[in-house]
């Protein structure tokens, strides 16, 4: 069993951050609540995965980050290429290249599992997406196991575990005085070579406290529930605000559009960008002629659940949800994915 002392780990991270971009969980936002603010979210800081300069900036004690790891592989908005038009009117396209290797430290096992779903969609079928592929290939994932399942987590109900090593290159599990280190992949081995790991005889690994597991609807139940009135009932509450998609580690829907921006230096840049989108938005399916095949709230809400648990497994051979619980927390009208799943699993479709 491999082990690293906390101090040695910090020193290694500090050195690493000098050599290449290091992404890690870090606290972002105001330290204090704004005077007079009644907004609970304004209080304290939130943890995001962000580029850090060393171990001191890393948030070691956190539940889940506000946004998943997805934003570092499929940014909220990214430039696919810039368009340069010469004086003769001929255009040249400059594609975005992303060659730099980097380390993603402290990714939670559920977020790493989310990348498995994005991999299946973006890389699993030809043609692969070159932007996502470059970021994925250039990144080594060092996972940080959760010491317990947090409130609203349900990874164990969708095939995951708070200390799963399946989707990372290296997994760290906090133990007395440091971290137990599981080197999972060849990529992880290359990185671990510089970590100065100790070999120890045996290590007492903590058993993370789990939340109660529940059964998911079967494929037959999904099939039978498509036209259930249940979707009208749940859809009735939905605001189409799309927050569930934006916080989701596995949502990947995107919009593509061209835009012209002027830099502060006065340079005019014409580019094609790709941006996060959500099937929950009312305009998501609208065609130029005005037709909207998913004009109703319940149709859109239903699509989200079917996408995760029925379409993605069929189309891409991956489980579409990792049980991170972010959509449960973020939903302003308390639509709870766990409740929907359990309702469907025990309901007679009507």
């Amino acid at each position: 069993m491999k082990f690293i002392e906390t101090r040695a780990l910090h020193e290694w991270l500090d050195r690493l951050a000098q050599e290449m971009p290091l992404i890690a969980p870090t606290a972002v936002g105001p330290q204090e609540k704004a005077p007079g603010s009644r907004n609970p979210a304004a209080q304290g800081q939130q943890v995001f995965y962000r580029e850090v300069e060393g171990a001191a900036q890393i948030a070691w004690d956190f539940t889940r980050t506000a946004l998943s790891a997805r934003e570092h592989f499929m940014p909220k908005t990214e430039t696919l290429f810039t368009i340069e038009t010469g004086p003769d009117g001929k255009a040249v396209l400059h594609e975005t290249k992303l060659a730099q290797p980097r380390v993603f430290f402290g990714i939670r096992p559920c977020d790493a599992r989310g990348l498995r779903v994005l991999d299946a969609v973006m890389l699993g079928q030809e043609p692969a997406d070159v932007y996502y592929a470059q970021r994925r290939q250039n990144t080594t994932l060092v996972g940080l196991a959760c010491p317990q399942m947090w409130e609203d987590c349900f990874c164990n109900s969708v095939g995951g575990a708070p200390d799963a090593a399946d989707d990372v290159d290296i997994l760290l599990i906090q133990v007395e005085g440091g971290f137990a280190v599981q080197v999972v992949t060849a990529k992880g081995e290359r990185l671990a070579a510089g970590m100065g790991l100790q070999e120890v005889e045996r290590l007492e690994l903590p058993q993370p406290k789990l939340n109660e597991q529940f059964a998911l609807p079967t494929q037959q139940q999904w099939l039978a529930s498509f036209n259930d009135v249940y979707w009208q009932r749940v859809g009735d509450r939905c605001l189409s605000c799309r927050i569930c998609s934006y916080v989701c580690p596995t949502c990947r829907c995107f919009d593509v559009r061209d835009e012209t921006v002027v830099t502060p230096q006065g340079e005019r840049i014409v580019r094609r960008v790709r941006a996060w989108d959500s099937c929950q938005g009312v305009n998501y399916r609208v065609q130029a002629g005005g037709a909207n095949p998913r004009a109703n709230l319940e149709q859109r809400l239903r699509n989200r659940f079917y996408c995760k648990y029925y379409y993605v497994p069929i189309d891409y051979a991956a489980d579409g949800c990792v049980g991170c619980g972010r959509c449960v927390i973020a939903c302003p009208v308390n639509i709870d994915i766990r409740e929907v799943l359990q309702d469907l699993a025990r309901r007679e479709p009507a």
């Binding site: 396209l93 043609p127 692969a128 070159v130 990947r252 829907c253 919009d255 996408c307």
Partner: protein, 280 residues
């Protein structure tokens, strides 16, 4: 992993355009010489993304088949209805444009050799069927009787009217044109495409019907074809949806677990009837 970036359009030049119907024009694009070898030739039923660089891109069906004499000149019929299509209509000849494709599946015309074919096009839905007609006319001896039924709401919305004489004159081919409602000066058929289809009543024997038009038309043409004895395995159609990638990634075009871009756009009626989510 492939080195090709599927989100990067091939660059080409707008070499020709002509009006087809009210609001609808045909656009001809020739790919730049250095792009041609990377671009594979398309088949009837496939689609492309047409880019106006700096404005955006949108998906359209190919409206022609590759011409062995003229090289890969791409034709698309485009209705001026949205942000990108308005920009396409405003392009001057010689403008640089982008083409992504060919994308999606295609009409299985090789498998249909030896059969009679019924082609049913409604409005601009005729555009992706023009390559089917061109392909059959080019390989005329490989197919049986060809019935073309072409419809539009009004005469000014009929597409490719200048080619009807050539289609009619082809061996073993008949063509019927109809408009939905009476129109001043129109002396041809009046009535919905389903009405004309049931009057013409093509025999289902050794025949495949290929339909494209608005979803509601596809639905009712399917009903009429059933009445005439066609089975869902003898009906082909092509669907459309809003899309942003065309390669099964952007998530936009799904009908249940089927993706119009990747599993389609060409579907057998027997597949569509099993869709979890309605295409209507």
């Amino acid at each position: 992993m492939s080195e090709v970036n599927p989100m990067r359009p091939y660059l080409g030049t707008l070499v020709g355009t002509r009006p087809l119907a009210t609001g609808i024009r045909l656009f001809q694009v020739e790919l730049n010489p250095e792009e041609r070898e990377k671009f594979s030739l398309w088949r009837p039923g496939q689609f492309l993304f047409f880019s106006v660089l700096g404005v955006g891109e949108a998906p359209f069906g190919f409206a022609n088949i590759p011409d062995p004499q003229r090289g890969p000149v791409i034709e698309v019929a485009i209705n001026k209805v949205g942000h990108v299509t308005r920009a396409i209509h405003a392009l001057p000849l010689g403008a640089t444009v982008g083409i992504r494709g060919p994308l999606g599946n295609y009409f299985p015309l090789e498998e249909l050799k030896g059969q009679n074919i019924v082609v049913l096009g409604g409005g601009i839905g005729g555009a992706p069927l023009r390559p089917v007609i061109q392909y059959i006319l080019r390989h005329r001896d490989d197919y049986g009787h060809l019935t073309i039924i072409w419809a539009a709401r009004s005469p000014d919305l009929l597409v490719f009217t200048d080619e009807y004489d050539e289609w009619r004159a082809a061996p073993d081919t008949e063509m019927h044109v109809t408009i939905d409602k009476p129109f001043e000066g129109w002396t041809g058929n009046v009535g919905l495409i389903t009405q004309i289809l049931e009057e013409v009543a093509p025999s289902p024997e050794n025949t495949t019907a290929i339909t494209c038009g608005p979803p509601i038309m596809i639905y009712f043409v399917g009903k009429s074809l059933s009445k005439l004895g066609f089975s869902p395995e003898q009906m082909l159609t092509t669907l459309e949806a809003r899309m942003h990638c065309g390669i099964g990634k952007c998530g936009r075009c799904n009908l249940g677990e089927k993706l119009v871009c990747k599993d389609g756009p060409v579907f057998w009626q027997s597949e569509i009837s099993k869709f979890l989510e309605s295409f209507l």
